[in-house]
Symmetry: C2
Subunit: 313 residues, 2 copies
């Protein structure tokens, strides 16, 4: 049976990495958000896919979570000198990924096949798949008007107040081929919503009608809370929860995923929330969720897998 992990950026990548340490390659599919994919300098850039790939390949920069460790910036520095745009950081080795992906996509190769080929070259045995073959650009609705995801996230550093988020074309987009295939073959027996940003990383995945449909079957679905002790480990999740009128807590996460998840995994720092979460009808796993080391990732993955497989959807 196959565990389906839904992942976005850094938090998702680390959970996926943990799961890859515990599960055989044929027992795990890591489905990655494509809502933050964008075209920059003529290149198709897929930050979430790249973060997951680099993390599983052991190449990720441990400081930032994104990008490549010991990266060089020769191209970027020259682009700056030429007066080109420098708001989106492009390391030399990272750039090779974007160039090769863009080349393969331009040659007509499917997004999932390009990802498969890149993973193969990076010696990643586990399946990393884009959630869809199509682009589903995330549009962040703010008090200052609509912003593209990278404009909001990188250029404006998540500062604008968000009033809503939409995913252009999501309702018409199909799941990517490997994902569709696994679902049709009835292989998936549980779903894990990794501790990625619920609004910006997981929601664009849930926005696909075929994914919603899967999650309303009898499959057990758990989410690992990206909020620990009232704060997001990384990124604007807590800020967005406040902007959306949700408490920035595991309770807010549970409310957001209501109707989708059967269980929630929360950090020991949030022990006080357990009762309320159980009262809302959820099963709760209380453990260490801050994945600072490979050991924590692996232990958490084992616990989460035991937990999700103990549930009934």
């Amino acid at each position: 049976m196959v565990c389906l992990a839904l992942a976005g950026g850094v938090g998702g990548a680390r959970m996926a990495h943990g799961l890859s340490m515990v599960l055989h390659p044929e027992d795990l599919i890591i489905a990655v958000n494509v809502g933050d994919d964008f075209t920059h300098l003529g290149l198709r850039i897929c930050p979430d896919l790249d973060t997951v790939m680099y993390t599983l390949a052991g190449l990720a920069n441990p400081e930032t979570g994104w990008g490549i460790e010991d990266e060089t910036w020769n191209v970027m520095n020259s682009i700056k000198k030429l007066g080109g745009p420098d708001w989106f950081a492009l390391g030399d080795r990272d750039l090779a990924t974007h160039l090769e992906r863009t080349r393969q996509l331009a040659a007509g190769t499917k997004h999932s096949d390009v990802t498969k080929s890149l993973c193969h070259r990076l010696d990643i045995a586990h399946k990393i798949v884009p959630i869809s073959e199509q682009a589903i650009p995330t549009i962040v609705e703010t008090a200052e008007g609509d912003l593209s995801f990278q404009e909001y996230f990188v250029k404006q550093k998540c500062k604008p107040q968000v009033t809503g988020v939409r995913f252009a074309g999501a309702t018409e987009a199909g799941l990517s081929h490997p994902l569709r295939h696994a679902i049709d073959a009835g292989e998936i027996d549980c779903v894990i919503c990794c501790p990625s940003n619920p609004f910006l990383s997981i929601d664009p995945i849930l926005a696909l009608p075929e994914m919603r449909e899967l999650l309303t079957t009898a499959l057990p679905v758990v989410a690992i809370s990206p909020i620990v002790g009232g704060r997001a480990i990384k990124g604007p999740a807590a800020k967005l929860m406040r902007e959306f009128g949700l408490p920035p807590s595991t309770l807010g996460i549970a409310a957001h995923y209501s109707g989708i998840i059967n269980g929630i995994v929360i950090d020991t720092a949030d022990e006080a929330d357990v009762l309320a979460l159980r009262e809302s009808g959820l099963k709760v796993l209380l453990t260490d969720t801050v994945m600072t080391t490979d050991e924590v990732r692996e232990t958490l993955a084992r616990q989460v897998l035991t937990f999700v497989r103990s549930l009934h959807g």
Copy 2:
């Protein structure tokens, strides 16, 4: 009055560099071949323009003549690891030029304006202009069929026997705006065909009807022979001359440019050709043409300018 230099790759770049050491920026236009421009990894690459730019900016690799000195290859090495194409060498700093050019062209900026902006950022005071705003891809006709220029030049290392060369769209292509402007204003008083490959670098320039028209006016036009002592300083010029049934000598060069040039500049190594060249009706300047050092470039440029301005078209 403005001197118009027609240039291709390395030899053209070195002559243009010499001219830039002697002439004020407003007295020189370096018009560069675009026949070898191509799109690779989604990037618009203009090898001849780049070679001229890098040479005038003092960045050129003195060993190869093309590319940037002390270049790094981090992106290229990663592309290789990802299984991407590695037949066309792309240095990190060079890549920045292609990325920024591609970005500006995609934004609708004219080729000549993009070149102007890149030159400005590289602190080049002299005017380097693409011969046309349009693409005029050189097609090399060989015994094995038609090849794109880079396929012939880089991928197949000039090995296939060439039966002809054509320039797609040349008869419909106009001169680039700065060039058109200078001609319309009657500013150009002489033309120098730099010692670039006559078939692959200068012919694609001469293939433009507006350029042909300019060269059949009363302007003095000289060519510096890229053949010295029966050999090309660089590249396949001598091989092509043999394939086209021309002697690989200054006489062959003179025959090729017949009807276009009034004078020819040849190396002292070819002194034996002077009489025959004069008998063919050409004025001849015999001097050192092998531009190994900046001093030779500058001296040659002074001599060529005195020579061309002594002629009547």
